[in-house]
Structure formats: C-alpha cells, structure tokens
C-alpha cells in the first residue's frame, strides 16, 4: 500500500500523529479482542493506521477514537473473510455460536446477592475473549475502551438501541461464565 496520498502536507501528518498515535494502545487492545491472535492484531493495527492516515481528510471529528475503531473493524472484517476463505478453522465463531451448546448454562439462576469471585486480569481476558460476536465487540468497546453508547453506535454502525441490548446480553453471558467456571483451566 503505497503511501502516496493527498496528505503529503507535513502539517496534516503532524496533526494525524498528534491525534491518532496516542490511541495506539486502545486500537491494539480492540484488535487483540476481535482477532484473538497477536500477530494478526499487529498487522490489522498497522493497516488501520495507514488507512486512517490515507483517509484523514475525511475525518470530521469530534472524537477520533470511534473513527479509528470503525476503520479497524473494517480491517478485521476483511481478515475474517480471508480466514473463512482459507478454510482454516473458523476463528470468528459468530455464526456458529448460536448452534453450539453453550459452554456455560446461561439460564442458570445465580443465587441472589452472590458475590463474584475476584479474578485476575488474564482470567477475565479469557472470559471476555470467549464471548461470541457481536457481544464481545460491544462489551470491549464499552468496558475496556471506554466508549459512550453513542460512540459505540458510531464505531459499529448500529443504532444506540442495538448497542444497549447487545451490552446487556454480553454482560449476562459474561457474568454467567464468571459464576459458572470454577478455577481458570488454563
């Protein structure tokens, strides 16, 4: 991807660095959760920044984070399509998630007021990583990347109402997994 763009203006490059680079960790975090593979996340994030810079003249603000995330989503979707095409085991399990027997029993009533066991970060990361899409994405954008509902809607291209119902479902699933699983198995 040649970086021959309309953005050869050094002022534009400076502005882009100043605005976008501080969010590198955030973009990388989302990529890790979406792709669940460190090397693929590296590539996706680099591609995201190059695309973002190329299309920087279309950025209208106000917050750059949702804009970067929307670009990253597109990059990841292309990667999902490639994975599906290569016919490796589908890592993006969104379509089959409905059919598979759930890893935990979501309907199971948890005792009221039961305390959540304290878990360490790697254990929580694993539980979040096990959430099906699009719930995982919504959850990560809200709880880890700290976006508002409106910003999530913008990044994911869905109405705010959808964001709200996905988030509620994501939290219910995560809580069920959190309660159901005894000790981290890995």
């Amino acid at each position: 991807m040649p970086l021959k763009t309309s953005n050869d203006d050094p002022e534009q490059a400076r502005r882009f660095r100043e605005l976008a680079l501080p969010y590198l960790d955030d973009v990388y975090t989302l990529a890790r959760y979406l792709l669940r593979d460190p090397a693929d996340a590296d590539d996706a994030v680099q591609e995201c920044y190059l695309r973002a810079f190329k299309h920087f003249d279309t950025y209208r603000g106000p917050a750059i984070k949702p804009w970067l995330f929307a670009i990253l989503r597109n990059v990841c979707n292309a990667e999902f399509a490639r994975r599906a095409h290569v016919q490796t085991k589908a890592i993006d399990d969104a379509p089959e998630a409905e059919e598979k027997p759930p890893l935990w029993h979501e309907a199971q009533e948890t005792p009221e007021g039961a305390m959540l066991r304290e878990r360490d970060a790697s254990s929580i990361r694993r539980l979040v990583g096990a959430l099906a899409e699009p719930f995982r994405e919504t959850f990560v954008l809200r709880e880890i990347n700290d976006l508002s509902y409106r910003e999530i809607a913008e990044a994911a291209g869905v109405p705010v109402g959808t964001v709200m119902s996905r988030l509620a479902r994501a939290r219910a699933m995560l809580r069920a997994a959190w309660m159901a699983e005894e000790e981290p198995s890995r």
């Binding site: 050094p10 660095r17 680079l21 590198l24 007021g113 878990r119 709880e143 508002s148 988030l167």
Partner: protein, 255 residues
C-alpha cells in the same frame, strides 16, 4: 415502569448514560423491586471488578515503531524517509523487516528530536482523563518506592511543594519503546511531567530548552540519568522548576 422496561436501562444507569428523567424513573422502580435491586447490584459488581482489572493490551514497541516509520515525518521530509516508505509500499513481511533496519538508520539522525516529540506525545497522553498518574500521592516516600521493580532506574522523587511545585504522583510511560518513569507535578492548574530515563553517560549536562507543539521542554542529564521536564507553563517557570529540582537533588546527595 415494569421490570422488562427497567432491565436494559439498569445497564445505562450503571454506565452513566441515562438522562436525569430516566434516572429517577429507574431508581424509583429499583427502590420498590427486589429483583431489579439484585440485578443492579450484580451489574455494578461486575462493572467494578472489570474496572479494577487492567484488561487493556499495550501495543508492542516494534509495532509502534513500524507505524511511526510508515507515517510521513512531521518535520521536513527527508529523501531517506521516502526510501523507507517505499520499503513499506511492498507490504510483504520481508520488506517490513528490511525497512525496520532502514528505520534504525534514519532515526539515529534525529534521535534527539524524535525522542522529544515522543516526550511531548507522552505528556499529551497523560493529560487525557485518567492517564495522569498510576500512583497518586503528594508524599515522595510513597511515590519513590512505587517505581521499584518497574524500571531500570530509580527516579529521584523530590517534594517541591514549598517551592511552589506540588508533587501529585508518578506514572510509568513509554518513550522510545522503553518504559520510562514520569513524576508528575502541578503548578497552579498546569501539569508538569518530569520524565526520567537511564543513560550510560554519567556526566553532567547543562539544561537546554526547546518548544515543541507549544509545549516547553527542559532537558538535562546528571548522575547517569536523563531528565525531561514538559509542561505548558512558560519557559521561565519551567527553568525555575528544573533549577530547583537539580539543586535539591544535589543537596540530597551531599546531605
């Protein structure tokens, strides 16, 4: 309001996304409904547990370098950089590797400038909500031990409150793909980040000041450490800060 109506709104309540009208409606319902009270508690509990855990990932330093190198440099574009970009234009892993080698060469030319630009970026990042301090304390004896084991250098943490610069805490940051200590001070409403890194050079280097993107930087070196103080306060005040810091540091060493 019924439980069904409330269900999704409970989440919005926890997330601080409800307007005042809906907030009072939901709260009124919760007050009369044990089921929704339990649900609200459960949501809060997990939300808090998530917030306590650090679930973010940090971009690998190599990725950061790759991206920085692939973007046009903010200052005048040197021909050598175009060459680097061409390396990336091929887009293969091989060319990326080759380009990484080139980057190192290009960067050595204006290391100082680049590091200062990174320092300013780190300063800007720190000003975003919630990023300023990892350890919050006005007590140097709390801030200094906090750095232990996190860095290859023990940053001097000096209380300058009496001199008009209030110590507010410390933070780990990344500059030049390395962990670096930041000691955070305040002058009125202005934040001063003092970045401290280890250097092989143990000599003393007199302070120099620069202005990048409207921020003043004062850099100096002493006792195997490099210091960069960054702030939006005026050069005079930043020099005053640096001078007082250096003087106190020397006095501590002798005393």
């Amino acid at each position: 309001m019924t439980c069904d109506d409330a269900e999704i709104l409970l989440h919005a309540l926890v997330d601080g996304e409800l307007d005042a009208g809906h907030t009072s409606e939901v709260e009124a319902h919760v007050a009369t409904c044990p089921r929704c009270t339990a649900e609200l508690t459960a949501i809060r509990q997990m939300h808090d547990a998530i917030a306590r855990a650090d679930l973010k990932f940090s971009a690998p330093p190599l990725l950061r370098r790759r991206i920085e190198a692939a973007l046009p440099q903010p200052q005048k574009a040197a021909p050598s950089r175009r060459f680097v970009l061409k390396g990336f234009a091929m887009g293969s892993a091989v060319s990326a590797l080759a380009a990484t080698g080139l980057v190192a060469i290009v960067l050595s030319n204006d290391d100082q400038q680049r590091i200062e630009a990174e320092i300013v970026s780190a300063h800007l990042r720190s000003l975003q909500a919630g990023h300023l301090t990892d350890v919050i304390s006005t007590d140097q004896h709390t801030v200094k031990p906090w750095f232990n084991g996190k860095l290859d250098v023990s940053p001097p943490v000096i209380d300058l409150t009496a001199q008009g610069f209030t110590l507010i805490g410390g933070r780990l940051d990344y500059v030049d793909a390395r962990a670096i200590g930041a000691v955070v001070y305040k002058r009125r409403q202005h934040v001063i980040n003092l970045f401290v890194a280890q250097t092989a050079d143990t000599g003393q280097h007199a302070a120099k000041t620069d202005t990048i993107q409207g921020f003043n930087i004062r850099r100096w070196g002493e006792g195997g450490m490099k210091f960069w103080a960054v702030s939006d306060i005026g050069v005079d005040e930043l020099n005053e800060f640096g001078a007082k810091f250096e003087a106190t540091m020397r006095a501590n060493k002798e005393g």
